[in-house]
């Protein structure tokens, strides 16, 4: 029940904003409503957290109602540690994004109500997708997130509608994701047919995990699901919609798109692909791990070459999503826990990056790195925040993404040394793309055109502070999140039947050191 309320609050807020008469008395009422709705949602998500039993790996706070009897579809929601982490990411980012987006210059200045309403709609639909435990419900919400994002990019994005402008980016975004979504639809239909052959059709996750299918069917259905998630995540070579969409979006839209909605893709891989098609996932893992490694290196290399800051961040995300997918398909509990934590941390660090660079871009009137220079001198707080967000993106130890990236690599090393070795290159390249960008924009002599870049206002600082605090806090103390994630990950890993590979040396050690006190084994 509480999960339904959690998803319903932002949706109701969006409807309220849509019905609000626009433009009268400034946009203050709309902004106040949007911010308070997102804060209420955040508060309710903390109630969910309080009611959640961290030690349990199964789904909690579940509720199930029949929805479309003929399809076997249910309105079924529930959270495990993985879902809860991502729900919290969504509810934490929503107020940050809304507060940071207050003064966005929109192509249609009367559109503030619609802008904030679509944002709340994204929040509600994403929460719904993370908590759905019915494949049909998940699919509907997964696809439905496209509509608000499409309008956010197309109506409120970049200044032009000419070829290459915002409507082009919006259509490209929609068509790419729709192709993946429709392939998934074919697989969803296939699941129904397979499930109805074994009695009453059901889309419940619990029923689908026990489904018997032929090897070919399982592989085909897996490919259908994976196509949608790989485009959404995005995995090389299906990533090309993301840089265009990010370059034409407002910073707020980019955060919602990359930090929240794209996570549904990687979340779907764990929750749906691995649970429903464990054997097919194992069969496909060499290919997917290869693509993930290519993503890591390719995204990083292209990020280095970008002159548009927003495209640069988009490519760094391609690289980071490569890490997340690599960790998932390495099938070790370490790497999968790392991937889940990475989803959370990447959401925070990318949100901070998009927002702070968005502020820079709107004040300079250009997104080109070459148009900036020496901004540090006139906007010290801004440049400090950019440096911190950038360092978190390159996984500096002490900041949150480092822990997750380390876990992913550590887990991957036990499965595939070449994959992990090449992936490690990504960390080196990350230092390049972030530091070169920082150096060119912030240091050196002040660029005359950048003289108008003023420092952060209190409102912007207020929006960025929670994200920065979490990035630092989780960098030193990630254990609370990992405690919530690990039981759920163990359930998934045991379902795949892979388990962690047996350590190669400890047998010898235990043979020789039976007398050694056991507390030595605890260290990593």
């Amino acid at each position: 029940m509480i999960l339904s309320i959690l998803a319903a609050i932002p949706i109701a807020g969006a409807l309220l904003l849509a019905l609000l008469p626009r433009g009268r008395g400034g946009h203050l009422p709309a902004k106040a409503i949007a911010l308070s709705v997102s804060l209420v949602t955040l508060a309710v998500s903390f109630v969910v957290l309080a009611r959640f039993d961290v030690g349990d790996g199964g789904y909690q706070l579940t509720s199930t109602h029949e929805w479309i009897a003929a399809f076997g579809a249910h309105y079924a929601v529930g959270v495990n540690g993985i879902a809860l982490t991502l729900v919290l990411l969504t509810t934490i980012l929503a107020p940050i994004v809304i507060l940071a987006s207050f003064d966005d210059r929109l192509p249609d200045p009367r559109g503030t109500n619609a802008y904030l309403a679509w944002m709340l709609a994204v929040e509600g639909l994403a929460i719904g997708a993370f908590t759905a435990t019915d494949a049909f419900l998940f699919y509907v919400l997964f696809e439905a997130t496209l509509i608000p994002l499409y309008f956010l990019i197309g109506t409120f994005g970049g200044p032009t509608t000419t070829p290459g402008g915002r409507s082009y980016a919006a259509v490209k975004f929609l068509i790419y994701n729709l192709v993946g979504g429709l392939l998934m639809l074919a697989a969803i239909v296939g699941l129904y047919v397979v499930s109805s052959r074994q009695g009453d059709a059901s889309y419940l996750l619990t029923d689908l995990t026990d489904l018997d299918m032929s090897r070919t069917t399982e592989r085909l259905l897996f490919c259908g699901f994976m196509a949608a998630f790989a485009i959404k995540a995005p995995l090389w070579p299906l990533h090309t919609w993301l840089p265009d969409a990010a370059a034409q979006s407002t910073p707020g839209t980019s955060v919602l798109m990359v930090s929240v909605v794209d996570k549904i893709g990687t979340f779907g891989m764990i929750t749906w692909c691995l649970n429903l098609f464990p054997e097919a996932a194992d069969w496909a893992s060499p290919v997917i791990m290869t693509l993930a490694v290519v993503s890591i290196v390719y995204g990083a290399l292209l990020a280095i070459g970008q002159d548009d800051i927003r495209r640069l961040i988009a490519f760094t995300s391609v690289s980071h999503f490569g890490f997340i997918i690599l960790g998932i398909f390495a099938f070790t509990s370490t790497s999968m826990a790392g991937s889940t934590l990475y989803m959370f941390n990447h959401g925070l660090s990318t949100a901070a990056l998009f927002i702070v660079t968005g502020i820079m871009v709107s004040r300079r009137g250009s997104a080109r790195i070459s148009d900036f220079g020496g901004v540090q001198k006139i906007a010290p707080i801004l440049s400090g925040v950019l440096l911190l967000a950038g360092l978190s993106s390159l996984s500096l130890p002490g900041l949150a993404p480092f822990v997750s990236e380390f876990l992913v690599l550590a887990g991957t090393f036990t499965v595939s040394i070449p994959a992990a070795a090449v992936a490690t290159l990504g960390i080196v390249l990350a230092a390049l793309y972030i530091l070169i960008m920082y150096q060119r924009t912030m240091t050196g002599p002040l660029d005359p055109g950048s003289a108008g870049v003023t420092d952060l206002e209190p409102r912007e600082i207020a929006a960025l502070t929670p994200a920065i605090m979490l990035i630092i806090g989780l960098g030193f103390f990630p254990q609370p999140v990992l405690n919530a994630i690990n039981p759920a990950i163990d359930t998934v890993v045991s379902h795949i039947g892979k388990g962690d590979p047996a350590p190669r040396t400890p047998t010898l050690i235990t043979e020789h050191s039976k007398d050694v006190p056991t507390d030595e084994e605890g260290g990593h």
Binding site: A70, F71, T155, Y192
Partner: protein, 539 residues
């Protein structure tokens, strides 16, 4: 004394048994149509339009109520497959679950169309139909007709006759009845197409094209009927089924009969390569008539197609399925690709209707009848649901088209629609919802409909056709999305379009269509169950 003598000489003649209560909706609509003709003859001209409109609406509502009653009262049949209904009218008709469901949606479509027919605020107090069809376009007589404010009020009885034809077509059990129904539904539509108030030449051209091609296809259909009779010795579908299953006659005659009847039926649903009439007729006909045709004809003809091929030719499904698969792919692909290059809204919607005929054929070709005792989506139920959603969204979309106008009447050129979302967000939003439903985006009825037909095809063994279907859906989504881009993301050109303020009639139609489209996407249960419990065809 004399009577006894005659009865002794002649064999006894039984009066035919007609199940009047079962056929009530047909009688009501026919009766009201005939009454409309009498009104046309005797009622004073000044108030005739209103009387005709009220009569048509009341008649359809009464028939709809009777249809609900008939549906709940149908006999249940449990074996071999779950079905309901019976053969009626001495074997001429089959009043069964799918047939009565189709009556229901046809009457709803008819009702919504009548409301659009009756809209008179958009043309300054005159209807969307020409005042005097006999006048040459652009002549002084025509101008005089406008000045005298004469109107063709026959449009209401004509539409009702077409409606009866559609209802008969969907429930014919006998190929001759089916042919008569085909003509009853077509002839009034040919006339209605020619009656547009604006762009008269285009309208007359559309009517002539529709008439010539329609007559041509009817002849194909008739020849097919003749060959089916030659093969099986009967016009009744169940007798033809027996002959086909037992393979009593020559194979060639059967195949020729199937092919010729398919041509006639595929023409009516607008499937490629028999689709060429669709864009011209949709564009030229008065928009309310286009709405009526797009929703009604497609539903009725699809039911007839299903009935002929499932009941009559079901025994030779392995002969016709490969061809229909090919036609489905061509139809989807052609409809989706060609509509991308359209610049006229009505032509674009016409090609979209062709693409949807293709998606419906995907569900049709699955020939999935379900399993006894289970509650699965079958080919019949998925097609019924799709037709309901598609018809509702289509009528809504055409209703929106009637409102976007300039001095020359409706502005159907797409470039004039640029920026509509800025000036009238509600209207553009409604149209966007219809487009999203056509594209099959979740939370709209179109998505559930697509899910249904794809699942029927998948269950029938055509998983690869489903994959082709979803890829073409993505292609088709491109042009629906293009319209949304134009309305919402593009700046208006010049003065932009003016949106006429309609009377309550058109408003009601658009609101009902929006609510229905979204409602069927979120809570499809009730209508889906209705389609589901309609069961199989009764033979």
């Amino acid at each position: 004394m004399i009577t006894t003598f005659i009865s002794a000489e002649l064999p006894p003649i039984d009066a035919p048994t007609i199940e009047y209560s079962l056929l009530g909706p047909l009688f009501i609509v026919t009766g009201v149509a005939v009454l409309g003709v009498l009104v046309e003859a005797f009622w004073p001209r000044a108030s005739r339009f209103v009387v005709q409109a009220v009569l048509a609406v009341v008649g359809i509502v009464a028939a709809l109520a009777d249809t609900v009653w008939v549906y709940t009262d149908l006999d249940r049949i449990d074996a071999p497959l779950q079905a309901r209904g019976q053969v009626a009218g001495e074997g001429a008709l089959t009043v069964d679950g799918p047939g009565v469901f189709t009556w229901g949606i046809l009457l709803v479509f008819g009702l919504m169309s009548m409301l659009l027919f009756a809209e008179r605020r958009l043309e300054g107090g005159l209807s969307a139909f020409t005042g005097r069809a006999a006048d040459a376009p652009g002549s002084s007589a025509e101008a005089q007709a406008v000045q005298l404010r004469v109107e063709h009020t026959e449009v209401f009885p004509l539409a009702l006759f077409a409606l009866v034809g559609m209802m008969l077509f969907a429930t014919s059990n006998d190929l001759l009845t089916m042919f008569v129904a085909l003509e009853v539904l077509s002839l009034p539509l040919y006339l209605l197409c020619a009656l547009a108030r604006r762009r008269r030449l285009l309208s007359q051209e559309a009517a002539l094209k529709y008439f010539l091609l329609g007559a041509f296809s009817s002849v194909f259909f008739l020849y097919g009927i003749a060959l089916a009779y030659g093969y099986s010795g009967s016009f009744e579908l169940s007798a033809i089924d027996t002959a086909v299953t037992n393979r009593t006659g020559g194979e060639n005659m059967l195949l020729a009969s199937i092919a010729l009847m398919a041509v006639g039926l595929l023409f009516k649903i607008g499937a490629a390569p028999f689709h060429t009439w669709t864009p011209d007729v949709y564009q030229g006909a008065p928009t309310p008539v286009t709405a009526f045709m797009a929703a009604g004809t497609k539903a009725a003809a699809f039911l007839a197609l299903l009935r002929v091929f499932y009941v009559g030719f079901g025994g030779s499904q392995w002969d016709w399925r490969p061809t229909i698969v090919a036609i489905a792919i061509i139809t989807m692909f052609l409809g989706a690709v060609v509509s991308i290059s359209q610049t006229d809204v009505k032509r674009m919607l016409a090609y979209s209707s062709i693409a949807h005929a293709g998606f419906l054929l995907v569900g049709f070709v699955g020939v999935y009848a379900g399993v006894a005792g289970s509650d699965r989506i079958t080919s019949v139920s998925s097609v019924l649901f799709y037709l309901a959603v598609y018809g509702l969204s289509s009528i809504g979309a055409f209703a929106v088209v009637t409102l976007v106008r300039d001095s020359g009447g409706e502005t159907t050129h797409l470039s004039k629609w640029a920026g509509l979302g800025r000036t009238s967000p509600l209207l553009a939003g409604s149209f966007a919802i219809f487009m999203l439903s056509f594209a099959g985006i979740p939370l709209t009825g179109g998505f559930i409909g697509k899910w249904g037909v794809f699942s029927a095809a998948y269950a029938g063994g055509f998983w690869w056709l489903v994959v082709i279907g979803v890829m073409i859906s993505a292609l088709a989504a491109y042009f629906y999305v293009r319209v949304i881009v134009l309305m919402f993301f593009t700046d208006p050109v010049g003065d932009g379009p003016t949106v006429a303020v309609p009377s309550v009639l058109t408003t009601v139609v658009i609101v009902v269509a929006v609510v229905g489209t979204v409602g069927l996407g979120i809570i499809p249960g009730p209508v889906l169950d209705l389609a589901q419990h309609a069961g199989a065809f009764v033979r």
